[in-house]
């Protein structure tokens, strides 16, 4: 859920169970690594998603199509609502660009522009561009097992390393034992206070993989705020070249 390969944050997991279970001992770090590599390891994908932003006095849904290559390149095309339609966003490594057909202008988005959350959601600049490694930046420990929606999960505590460039002090992840899906994550600040909860649900099979079809982001300090992401369609390992992720394509893609 962090350090996304896709733009915006997205969870895509493969179900290459065989590869995982053969010959690897399941330490906490390995579990996290496997779960992480399920989406970061994925070569490419094309997906159709919708994001609903919920606030105390209003609610809004944005629909988009997303192409991604590894976790460095992503192209997003907004398909709804009408006001925002045909806008595209391009992520190349740590840079973000925006194309707006209404003004026919390509603009490089400075990081400060995104301190408010992408498209008004709870996804922050940190979520979208920061490249932190869940595996390398934390130490891991299995602290239990719990069931979420009838799936038995490893409960793993992750403590950020001293020098790691991550804003979180601690994370707790519930990783499903069977498919290594991250069904729940709690993100804590440097002093161990909960700041955000992420919940994966609506597990279904798409393009042969088992993935959560719905991801919710719940900020702790504003209980009435929420962002929900729905994955409607997704195809994996499609052939896309790095050259696809270009400024030219931002204007042309439909």
């Amino acid at each position: 859920m962090k350090g996304s390969a896709f733009f915006p944050v997205l969870i895509i997991l493969t179900g290459m169970n065989n590869m995982i279970t053969s010959g690897q001992s399941l330490t906490a770090s390995n579990i996290v690594k496997i779960a992480d590599e399920k989406f970061n390891g994925e070569k490419s994908s094309i997906s159709v998603m919708s994001m609903t932003i919920i606030r105390p006095s209003w609610q809004r849904t944005v629909e988009f199509k997303n192409w991604s290559l590894g976790n460095k390149y992503a192209l997003t095309l907004i398909t709804a609502p009408a006001k925002d339609r045909d806008q595209t966003f391009l992520k190349r490594e740590t840079e973000m660009w925006s194309w707006n057909p209404a003004i026919s202008r390509l603009i490089k988005l400075p990081p400060s522009m995104m301190s408010q959350g992408w498209m008004g959601s709870d996804y922050t600049n940190d979520d979208l561009l920061r490249e932190s490694s869940v595996v390398n930046d934390y130490t891991h420990e299995v602290i239990g097992e719990e069931s979420i929606e009838n799936r038995l999960c490893y409960k793993i505590k992750m403590i950020a390393r001293e020098d790691a460039a991550v804003v979180w002090g601690k994370q707790i992840r519930w990783i499903d034992k069977k498919d290594f899906l991250i069904l729940r994550a709690e993100l804590y600040d440097q002093e161990g206070f909960l700041v955000r909860t992420e919940i994966g649900s609506d597990i279904k099979i798409m393009d042969g993989r088992t993935i959560p079809g719905r991801i919710e982001l719940l900020p702790e300090e504003e209980p009435e705020n929420k962002t929900v992401l729905y994955i409607q369609e997704i195809k994996f390992n499609v052939t896309i070249d790095e050259s696809f992720f270009s400024q030219q394509n931002m204007k042309n893609i439909r």
Binding site: I53, K83, S98, M119, G120
Partner: protein
């Protein structure tokens, strides 16, 4: 005979002494009034300028907006609200505004900007935006052409110092080029003609913008060019649009001038996807005394529906308030010091007068006058003198102040430039006659009252023998 009549006659028996004592009171009152008038006038001038050029005296806003000035904290300006506000007879106009942030882009340059959606016709009632439109610009071409004209050499040599500078005010242009008021009528018309900058303005419904001069220079844009802006709109939508630059303004504060963009309010609303919403409505009012404002807010606040609320200029300008407060206090101290000096002068005069009249008092008491009667008479004398002094002080100060209001002290040189760079007229105005006149008189009266204690005491403690020997 009545005591006060005796006192009055006594005054004129010794004209010289009376006049001299009254004179010291006169000068006290005169100087105090002048100084206070100047002080109050200056503060008034300064803060009115700031208030009147930006926030106005009263505004209505969404109550969340002040702490969190985002587009989501706007309110719908319905006709119902409009009617409630207009019902107050002191309100002459309602001036809508939509203020937010955006990213302006031109070529490879992007810059965070302040967007102000205004009602082009009405905004002039609130801020003096039309006075800020650039009228003259010393572009390279203009300088060349001016250098070839028959301007005096000193002026020509200064031209290059102000290359590319824009001016909304003729007087600053004149000052920058070192032209004094005498030479001006001969020289300025030529300069104005050649350096004249054809500017434009925005109108409702047109996708055009006014931008700050420094912003225009940074983005390398001129009138007729396109300004692209994107930002976050209402409820997180993306705001993105292009605007033709219709005009360029030059605001006094560089920090604002380098990021200000004015749009017509309806265009601004649709840019941020917030039709019918506003961040604030300023009330243009007839009478702007503190009391009136307080009462207006109290009554209107009750009638406007939540989440709206009314703010006064104090709340909207907290920093300015603190500044004024500190300034006022130090000004008060200054006047206080003046009074101390004056009080000593008056005490001194009274002291001397008492000593001189010791013999006179002694004789009177010896002849049978009661000490209390004498004390009362002397007190009356002092009060009359005080009254004469205060009255004459006011009579002389008042016209000076009135004249001063029409011909305020003009600052020149560096100070003038700095005042003007903040958008203020470089004058030190006098405060028109007001309550402070009364206060100063009261204070002087109190000083005299205290001064009387000395002669009265002396009278009571008088030992006849010593007095007669004096």
């Amino acid at each position: 005979m009545k005591n006060h009549k005796i006192a009055w006659r006594n005054l004129w028996r010794n004209k010289r002494r009376t006049l001299i004592t009254a004179a010291s009171v006169f000068f006290a009152v005169f100087f105090a009034l002048l100084m206070r008038s100047l002080q109050l006038g200056s503060y008034d001038h300064m803060f009115r300028n700031v208030i009147e050029s930006y926030t106005g005296y009263i505004q209505i806003q969404n109550e969340e907006f002040k702490d969190d000035p985002t587009v989501d904290n706007t309110f719908e300006f319905t006709s119902e609200i409009r009617q409630i506000l207009l019902k107050d007879k002191n309100v002459t106009e309602l001036i809508p505004r939509f203020e937010s942030f955006a990213l302006a882009s031109s070529g490879a340059l992007t810059k965070g900007v302040l967007v102000m959606g205004i009602e082009p016709g009405k905004e002039a009632l609130l801020s003096n935006i039309n006075e800020r439109l650039v009228s003259y610009r010393l572009s390279v071409k203009v300088i060349d052409s001016l250098k070839r004209s028959n301007l005096p050499e000193e002026v020509k040599s200064r031209l290059t110092l102000f290359k590319d500078e824009s001016y909304s005010s003729e007087s600053i242009l004149q000052m920058d080029l070192g032209i004094n008021d005498k030479e001006a009528p001969g020289i300025m018309p030529v300069i104005k003609r050649i350096a004249s900058f054809s500017n434009g303005y925005i109108s409702p419904g047109k996708e055009e913008a006014l931008i700050g001069d420094r912003l225009a220079k940074y983005l390398k844009l001129n009138i007729g060019d396109t300004l692209v802006m994107i930002g976050q709109g209402y409820h997180g939508t993306t705001a993105a649009s292009k605007f033709r630059i219709a005009g360029i303004v030059r605001l006094p504060t560089p920090d604002i001038d380098n990021k200000i963009v004015y749009l017509p309010v309806d265009i601004c609303q649709s840019f941020y996807n917030a039709p019918g919403m506003l961040t604030s409505v300023a009330l243009s009012i007839k009478e702007n005394s503190d009391n009136k404002i307080k009462r207006m807010i109290a009554s209107l606040d009750k009638e406007v529906p939540p989440p709206l609320r009314l703010l006064d200029w104090r709340e909207m300008n907290e920093l300015l308030m603190n500044q004024m407060d500190a300034d006022n206090k130090s000004g008060g101290i200054m006047v206080g010091i003046l009074y101390m000096v004056i009080a000593f002068g008056i005490f001194g005069t009274v002291l001397m007068m008492t000593i001189e009249r010791r013999r006179e008092f002694g004789v009177l008491i010896a002849l049978g006058m009661q000490k209390s009667k004498l004390a009362i008479i002397v007190s009356f004398e002092m009060f009359y003198i005080g009254f004469l002094g205060i009255l004459s002080g006011i009579i002389v100060a008042a016209p000076s102040i009135i004249v001063g209001q029409y011909n305020p002290i003009r600052l020149s040189g560096q100070y003038a430039k700095i005042y003007e760079s903040y958008g203020m007229e470089p004058v030190m105005p006098f405060m028109p006659i007001n309550y402070y006149f009364l206060w100063q008189s009261v204070i002087v009266a109190v000083i005299i009252g205290i001064a009387i204690i000395y002669p009265v005491r002396k009278i009571y403690k008088m030992k006849l023998v010593n007095a007669l020997k004096a």
